[in-house]
Symmetry: C2
Amino acid sequence: MKTVTAAILVIGDEVLSGRTQDANTQVLAKALGAIGVLLCEARAIADDEATIITALNELRGRFDYVFTSGGIGPTHDDITAEAVGKAFGAQVTIRDDARVLLDAHYGDDINDARLRMARIPDGAELIPNPISIAPGFRIENVFIMAGVPRIFAVMLDAVIPTLDSGAVVSEISLACPHGEGVLSAPLAAVAAKHPDVAIGSYPRFKTGGGFEVTVVARCADADALVAAEADLKAMLAGF
Amino acid sequence: MKTVTAAILVIGDEVLSGRTQDANTQVLAKALGAIGVLLCEARAIADDEATIITALNELRGRFDYVFTSGGIGPTHDDITAEAVGKAFGAQVTIRDDARVLLDAHYGDDINDARLRMARIPDGAELIPNPISIAPGFRIENVFIMAGVPRIFAVMLDAVIPTLDSGAVVSEISLACPHGEGVLSAPLAAVAAKHPDVAIGSYPRFKTGGGFEVTVVARCADADALVAAEADLKAMLAGF
């Protein structure tokens, strides 16, 4: 089965200043994983037009799909749509299909600022937003979505069924009572025996104190994963 | 005062698969912000040697400092040190200065896996790790640090005083009782009057329900920030 790849471009000063923790990458990673699309890169950049254009052109050439989050609201610092237009050499105008949605939602409260959210590049298709109505959009292999996590998530719900899917990678996790220093050699032996299975170990401090290691195996081939899991369990039992 | 720039390269399949939420970017952003170093990009990539080398060479050419997190443990999937060596054309060997630390810590429990954590590129300087001893390292403008957040943080504590510092950007936040659609025009007017101050608005859903907007202004010049804050407060009071 083919490999389908993706990246996310998180646009916004607030992540890089440390004010906000990006939450959209994890939501996207899980949703793509469920349909076999591999998230290969997550990149956060500032609200700067030249930076957005460069990063977008780099990523859309490198991956099958690119998702952006942030910068599509009504205020002066929301510059994503314009930057995307420039990256694609597409004109950005207030589009009738987007305007109709905003007119119906805001009625007499429609204003120039809100109409900024109807500025869509030529050739783009709208992505519905049942929460706050202002749409995202898709242009070629790029999906422009909101930064607010709840809105990002509903836009993603609309987008997921339209994507090509790939081989779904399944994952198993095993708690390991031993540190990585003693786990390393037997774990490497299992990994070498199962070259198609990605096997990793993840140490972390537990909330209540102490340290634990989780062994994770990931593979799109269910039989190969089952075989690796059996060997990992035998290895862990053999300490 | 000069501008000092930085990027973080988060290395590890676990972030891109959605298993783990990266926490190091926010910690780094705040620590760098406090000494006036501007975090300009945060990039997460998989544990793949070619990908690490390409990304590292791109980022270290583009920014004053690059910080990496992840992939320096004792297991087979910890490939960061080797990849960094290749990116710099530097040999990676078990170095005496790192070995001494690990020998003292592990005593008779030292083994080949643990000695992998003493593999350091030629010319690199060690970064101390008082928690689990295995060091990070600095090579030229790149700082190679652990992925486990608690260890990343103590390595960062050691690194911060060694960095060039820039103009510290101060930030003020104001709660705004109005939506962005009506805030937009007066906010843009204040932003236009204070071109040196970065002014943004951040909508979010509140945990208890409802929606709120925060107006944030950021500037390295304290007087300019005070002036912008006064105009923002007057604008918000004038609704």
